[in-house]
Amino acid sequence: MPKDILSIRYRWYFIAAAAIITLLMAVPLKDSKINTDLNAYLPDDIPQKVSLDTLESTFGTTDPIIMFFETDDILKGTTLMRIESLTSSLQQAEEFKDVVSLFTTKNIRSEDGTMIVDPVVKHIPESEAEREALRKQIRGNPLAYKLVVSDDFRYSLIMFNPKPGYSDDVLLKKLDKLLKENPGSEKVYFNGMPYLRDEIQKKAIRDLTLLMPLGILIMIGFLYFSFREIKGVLVPLSVVVMAIVLAMGLMPLLGYDLSIIAVLVPILMIAIANNYGVHIVTRYQELNARYGNRSMTTMLNEAMYYLRNPILLTALTTIVGILGMTTHIMLPAKQMGLVSAAGITFALLLSLYYVPAIMSLLRKGKPQKSFLVPSHTLVDKFLVWAGNVTTRNPKMVIAVFMGFFLLTGAGIYRLHVSFNNEKIMPVSHPLRISTNIANEHLGGTKVISLLFEGDIKDPVVLNEMERFTGDLKKLPQVGSVTSIATVIKTISRAMNDAGDPLYDRIPDTRDAVAQYIEFYNLSGDPADFERLVDFDYTRANMNVQFKADNIEEFNKVENTINSLMSASKFCKLKAGHCLVEKQMARSLVKGQNYSLIFAFAAIILLLWWIFRSLRAGFMGSIPLVFSVVSTFGLMGWLGLELDIATSLLSSVAIGIGVDYTIHLFWRLKTELSDGVEYAEAVRKTLKTTGRGIAINAFSVTIGFAVLFVSGLTILKAFGFLIIFSLTLCLLCALMLIPSICLLIKPSFLEKSPIKNFNHIN
């Protein structure tokens, strides 16, 4: 009697090892932390972050929250009262500082030879005439008009910074409370990074707690539907759960925080990790149906003998594809690549050793009749059709695929990289609405800060700032440019009467500038200056506020700034959160390309090794190129942007999608080596292995389909696109590759099969 396989002989050791590793990896789970700070996704030493740090070390950090009010007329008494009351509550709250609203923004003006400094709204108007006078006054105030209140007076904002030491959650709860204490009919929307982070956090927690159990439930349903046997559900499921625990436990163990895309890790495990166990159960059920008198151990020995290498190789290609993510520049992608690869490796080891071990302890189930009678499901009908079409008219199949490829692929020219963080949220989310309000009616949501160095009180420096302001304001994207020069000009309007040569301009002497500043100190708040100029007046900060819905608009503003800087003696640095965001977009493209190159190269090498043919490497890559290009093209046509989630598509698609082609090559090779004629070999392969590939693809698809209920738009899009991409890989493996094989009859398929490299189904 032949010896049992290793996993059965030492089954208790393997079961114990699996349990112990899982339990140990469950311990760090309690230390899991969610980090939704998108800026933390890039390394700290990139130039954009260093510049931002330099600027913030002088002028303080800004992380403002903005509250937008929408109503038919902002100057209505009840609306102004609400804004006033909220302004005062925010000023008194210990969590906030630097409150900017209609009631704190200055109205500096000259009247009858007197400089008057008042808040924009000093008294709430009581009559129509007073209201219109206030409207007129606001229209003439460059510090308020189109900045704090919109041009059509339908929108107004309150902007403030959180004090250090408060979590986003605490801040947002406080704001909710303040809004409840100050009710009104105006619609209120929030914006700003603390709000975005808090919203992502809420949605990420919801996704993690909802999607994972949902995915597992769907998987249970699918497994039961496929096997009609409890062990057919529990064994693959236990592999999935253990792989999830290992992958998620590794994150805190390696010091990684859970990012916005961390929810993809368990979903990946659900979609991929059960595949190998499924193959083993399928094989066991097939043997049980055919040879009902064989013992469980005998059947497992046989199943593992056939499946060990295919499982090993398909897992290896998936791991290699996923590892492509570790070449990404974005930290969450790197981290996800590493822990997912570890999770799949663990799932592979569990499938090879733990699955046979545990199954050998279980009683044989009733033979499933479905294995003995030919099935006529929709899938079977499609496979027969595919086999016929492919063998009768391979050129037409190739032509149709080429046509599809060119049509969808052309969309790549329309593909944009996402650099607007708020697009993580659905279109109807308050954050998206408020961003639109800011872009359409107020100064925009992007800010680039420019650092000027020199004697800031020197009119030469101030006039240079004025030149920047003038040129930048000519751009339609730019909403406002604020600097110490703006303030000096505002003071000049209050110090001098209209028509006076000094009115609305930078004075000619340094002393006059110094006296203007001293004068402002008497009536204004020195804190007004803190964000614009440093204590000893050697460094100044210019804030350029603008809107940019896409990278082209952004580049117009940045290019103007660059050309102004190159001709400037004093402007030394540009910085801003939006520049870090833009770098993130660049990193997405770069990281995506690195992952793609790595995955392709690794897959070609692997296929070369498996089939001992470089041609196999290139042919096996055809479905991947087809799928990746078409998916990016489709994104272009549909207006879906390349973002942190979709930039991982190609790695995942390549890792999973290549398996289908490997299975196909194997079976084809086996059939051909058995002397079957080429066309018949294709038909037979599709009917047998094709079915396995299709079922496998279906199980992966339903795993990813749970992403449709994610609260985050980018994860929904990822779910849709990965399914599209894998469907293309599947169709290529079932129709395009056999057609090409029929036409060129590659020699690597006709060599004798590599020992033990047998097909799965």
Partner: protein, 257 residues
């Protein structure tokens, strides 16, 4: 235990609390009176430190006199050179908002300023305009918070709470607690609390000198903002009780002369 051993302390506590409210206002009035200089002339150095220890120094000459119930104050910058000659004139009326003018030598121009917020900074320092002028006693409610020894001096702890939100806004704080020496009525320290009742600033006084007429004047003032880490100090270099300046010197039209 004898009855008086219980009753005496109890009675004294009752007596003390009963007296507290009226005592508090009296103490506040006395503390205000003892330093009220009426008119004076002085030069001082104002040092403004940021939270990194950088310093800005201003030298200012200052004259104050009362004419027909209105306190008129002149500030003239002596240094740094770029603001030298800049002069500020303030009329502090009993029953209405202050009037303020500024003269800028570089423009040879006088401008009137209307600014209602006394809580704003004084010359960009941590002192506020309100700190620099005599408070209106009726704007506050006074409570005695007991006694405490400060640097060896037996002091009353007196709380002055802003009477309403308007007073709070005008002064930039919700309440202040002053340490007033019992024997001299001199204030040595004041803590200011913000609208959320968190400690905002701590002002300390030093080098009190008795002036002709029996009033005292602090030659050293220090204001530490505990929330932003900045501080400012004023050192009086020269002081003279009473002013020789005529009322015409406190006129907006003669500021540049």
């Amino acid at each position: 235990m004898k009855l008086k051993n219980i009753l005496l302390p109890a009675l004294s506590i009752l007596a003390f609390t009963g007296l507290r409210a009226q005592d508090a206002r009296t103490i506040a009035d006395k503390a205000s009176d003892v330093i009220n200089p009426g008119s004076m002339e002085m030069t001082s150095t104002l040092k403004i430190y940021d939270n990194k220890g950088n310093v800005r120094v201003r030298e200012v000459s200052n004259a104050m006199a009362k004419f027909s119930g209105t306190t008129k104050t002149l500030f003239k910058f002596l240094s740094p050179p770029d603001v030298k000659g800049t002069t500020i004139l303030i009329y502090d009326y009993e029953n209405k908002d202050d009037d303020m003018w500024i003269y800028m030598p570089s423009l040879r121009k006088t401008r009137r300023i209307v600014a209602t917020e006394k809580g704003k900074s004084f010359m960009g320092s941590e002192f506020s305009n309100a700190d620099m002028s005599k408070p209106t006693m009726s704007d506050f409610t006074y409570t005695l918070k007991g006694s405490e020894t400060l640097d060896g001096r037996d002091c009353w702890k007196l709380e002055s709470r802003c009477a309403d939100a308007g007073v709070e806004d005008a002064n930039g704080y919700s309440r202040k607690v002053a340490w007033i020496e019992k024997s001299t009525d001199l204030t040595w320290k004041i803590e200011f609390y913000d609208h959320a009742d968190k400690l905002l600033k701590v002002e300390t006084f030093g080098d009190y000198r008795k002036q002709a007429g029996g009033k005292y004047f602090a030659f050293k003032l220090n204001m530490q903002n505990v929330q932003n880490g900045r501080k400012s100090e004023i050192v009086i270099n020269k002081y003279q009780a009473g002013s020789v300046l005529k009322e015409s010197a406190f006129s907006a039209t003669t500021l540049g002369q």
